[in-house]
Amino acid sequence: MGGGLIGCATAWRLAREGAKVTVLDSGDFGMGASGQNAGSLHFQLERRFLENGDALAEQATRTAALNRLAISDWSSLEADLATNLHITMNGGLMVAETAEECALLELKIARENAEGLRTRMIDGHEARQIAPYLSEAICAAGYSPDEGHADARLVTHAIAIAADKTGALLRPRCRVQSIRRVCREYVVRTAAEQFAASQILIACGAWTAHVAAMLNLHVPLFPVGLLMNATERVAQVVPHLVQHVGRRLSMKQTHSGNLLIGGGWPSRMALDAEGRFTLYRPPAVIEASLRGNLRVAIDVAPMVATINLVRSWTGITAISADQLPIVGEIPAMPGCWVAGGGSAFTLGPTFARLIAQSMSGTKCEELEIVAPSRFAHLNSFMGQ
């Protein structure tokens, strides 16, 4: 359930192993977060894990094993799919402007190195040698040679085509309306059809909690409205992924030449008639977010100032109660899998591969850190 990157890639992997798979999406495939995201492939510890204390940073560091797998999954994806997805892994810089930020970078890099990631600290001078577009104000950067980006417009689309060719049944515009567990099977209904399956995966992004509710289950994934900005197309100048350790920024240049500027700035989610968040209307741009985001971009790369903004878009992604992704089988409901939360573009192909492997019966230790069992207490009075 859910034809985003995770759903499509899991189906592709499973179908390759000979499983009989169906993917259902309420809309067109890849039009949720998987088609709205920034396309960053970031393997350095995310800024959001650093701004909330040591415990979270410690925990997040333990997902480094997943990052290592993601690096190799992205490196082979184009070859596996035999298509060009504009994947570039030319390196990424997480920049710092102040002494405090430099100190934060050092701590972060030490954690990463301990987990076997190849990040290294470089000074401002070296950063500008690698990335001449960076401002003089940049005093240091964490440099990861593996980071980069991929064209989010194309990735899910290409994987869906591959899944289709491999024999998976793809059903766009078929919203899941109910799920029932009958003996050891699940019966999933859409408006016109029903499907019986021995195992199901809920990969509905920000809608995951709604869909899990159909089984009387809680999955603590919350919708988050984010902002992205695209400039007009310009000559290629930024071959890297650029992030900031102390301020919200992600910046890269697409194959077509647009600079994409984001980094986790909020947008305002729409409310329905009852005053609850609705996922069915795009969130509104918050002017302060827009202005703040573009300011960081100019501070980091001054050449951005003269370029035209052509589009700001808002998208909805999912974040879990503890910020780490939720991926795995739900203890209270054998055969029911869930995957979502966090930076599941970067980690999506890896989650998909590991879920497919687990569903086929081979346990994956790498998923333990993100297993839904850590929220089992929420479902102690739920289920059926």
Binding site: G292, A297, R311
Partner: protein, 450 residues
């Protein structure tokens, strides 16, 4: 600092002017924002003040509109912000509307209790082989050059399409000294006559005053300009610029082409607000739905003129008046009953003009005559997306989904030009089209950053 108004009006055409005058009469603090330097809108696009043009818009058809414009310009209590584009519109949590407006001098924000969008319409862009060659214009683009700058874009101009307005534009071009090689109508001559007769002679009379096609024909005859019917164009030829057009009956040499298949409403701002829209007339595009006071589905957001569906200048004027009184009544500046009395004649007038507009839509219906696309014909000219890239993904998916994988609609124009073509190719009456995004016009990043 943010300036605050009772009412902000986007667009200084007849609809915006009429509404502003009404609101100003009702003592409401009103601002009119337009990206053109001077008021007038599409119909009375004004030349720069330093130009002296004898007989500008002297034709009696324009008299009521010119009179409205002069009254509007003389009214100093209405705040006029020219040369500024409204690039964003949103509702703040406190209920006020916030408009982001930009100009070459930078960005500013204004807030308003009510907003009226009277943003007019633009030519329907029609792709066909050769349409991106230098020298190909929309007919309205040619007219804009002529009205605003007295520029005639060619000496051997061909106008082609289905909309009778091309007769008027051709006549204006020859009167200004341009050379028109031919005016090509895709439809047979009979279509025009039949539609006229079916809707009685009265409607036809209306046609010749509000829309002086008959007089234009006389002008063209006088200048020996060929007007061909049943001659749909198929391709525009040339190597590095336009050299000829091919139509069903042969080829005509030319140095400029104006395409004229109809007009589509500007809809980016109402759609940015998620106002309810409807598919507009046969030419395509989106009209904003509104109630009898011109209020859209969003409380406090009003629409007038071509934003509500293309119906011409006089209907725009009438709807601007209605919107003015509607907003005035909502803000308590006039009683609802009194407002209703004052708008009665504008409503009656608008109703009959809308009937006339439907007749014109019927005559000008481009649907049977859209030129066939070749594989290499660009559908989205901002992003160079050819028909061959779009064909394979026309499998029932939405316009947004096609946009995502092909880039069709991702360019500088925000999809204004290619969206009608794509929706036609998709042929799904329930497709809501591209999601409208900020900014309505491109804007330098330095203007936006804090």
């Amino acid at each position: 600092m943010t300036d605050h108004y009772d009412v902000a009006i986007v667009g200084g055409g007849p609809a915006g002017q009429a509404a502003a005058l009404t609101l100003d009469d009702l003592k409401l603090k009103t601002v009119v924002i337009d990206e053109q330097p001077q008021a007038g809108g599409q119909i009375l696009r004004q030349p720069p003040q330093s130009f002296r043009i004898p007989g500008w818009m002297e034709d009696r058809t324009y008299a009521p509109l010119v009179e409205l414009l002069r009254r509007f310009e003389a009214r100093t209590s209405i705040h006029w912000i020219g040369s500024h584009s409204v690039i964003g519109l949103r509702r703040e949590p406190d209920g006020l509307f916030a408009l982001t407006i930009c100009s070459p001098d930078g960005l500013r924000s204004i807030t308003a209790a009510r907003v009226l969008i009277a943003a007019g319409c633009q030519d329907l862009a029609v792709p066909l082989p050769g349409w991106t060659l230098p020298g190909v214009y929309s007919a309205g683009g040619m007219q804009a050059l002529l009205k605003a700058q007295r520029i005639v874009p060619g000496e051997q101009i061909v106008l082609a399409g289905t909309h009778p307005l091309q007769l008027l534009i051709a006549a204006q071009l020859v009167e200004a000294g341009g050379g028109v090689a031919a005016v090509l109508f895709s439809q047979p001559h009979g279509t025009m006559l039949k539609a006229g007769i079916r809707n009685s002679l009265r409607a036809f009379d209306r046609l010749s005053t509000a829309f002086p096609a008959v007089r234009a024909l006389a002008t063209l005859r006088k200048h020996g300009v060929k007007v061909l019917y049943n001659a749909p164009i198929q391709a525009i030829c040339g190597t590095d610029r336009v050299a000829a057009v091919q139509h069903s009956g042969g080829e005509i040499a030319c140095d400029a082409v104006g395409l004229c298949y109809g007009f589509v409403s500007q809809s980016s701002l109402p759609r940015m607000m998620s106002a309810k829209m409807r598919r507009a007339g046969p030419a395509g595009g989106w009209a904003t739905l509104c109630d009898e006071w011109m209020q859209s589905s969003i409380q406090g957001l009003y629409v007038a003129g071509e934003t509500t569906g293309v119906a011409g200048a006089n209907a725009a004027l009438a709807s601007g008046n209605i919107a003015g009184f509607g907003i005035g009544a909502e803000l308590g500046a006039i009683s609802r009953d009194e407002a209703a009395r004052r708008v009665a004649r504008h409503r009656a007038n608008r109703r009959s003009l809308l009937r006339f507009a439907r007749l014109l839509d019927e005559i000008a219906d481009p649907r049977p005559f859209f030129p066939a696309l070749r594989d290499d014909t660009l559908v989205c000219r901002c992003e160079d997306v050819a028909f061959a890239q779009i064909g394979p993904v026309l499998d029932g998916r939405s316009a947004n989904a096609v946009k995502l994988v092909t880039r069709c609609g991702m360019g500088l124009c925000q999809g204004r030009n290619c969206e009608p073509t794509l929706l036609r190719l998709l042929d799904n009456p329930n497709d809501p089209g591209f999601t409208a995004r900020f900014p309505a016009r491109p804007v330098p990043i330095s203007d936006l950053a804090t």
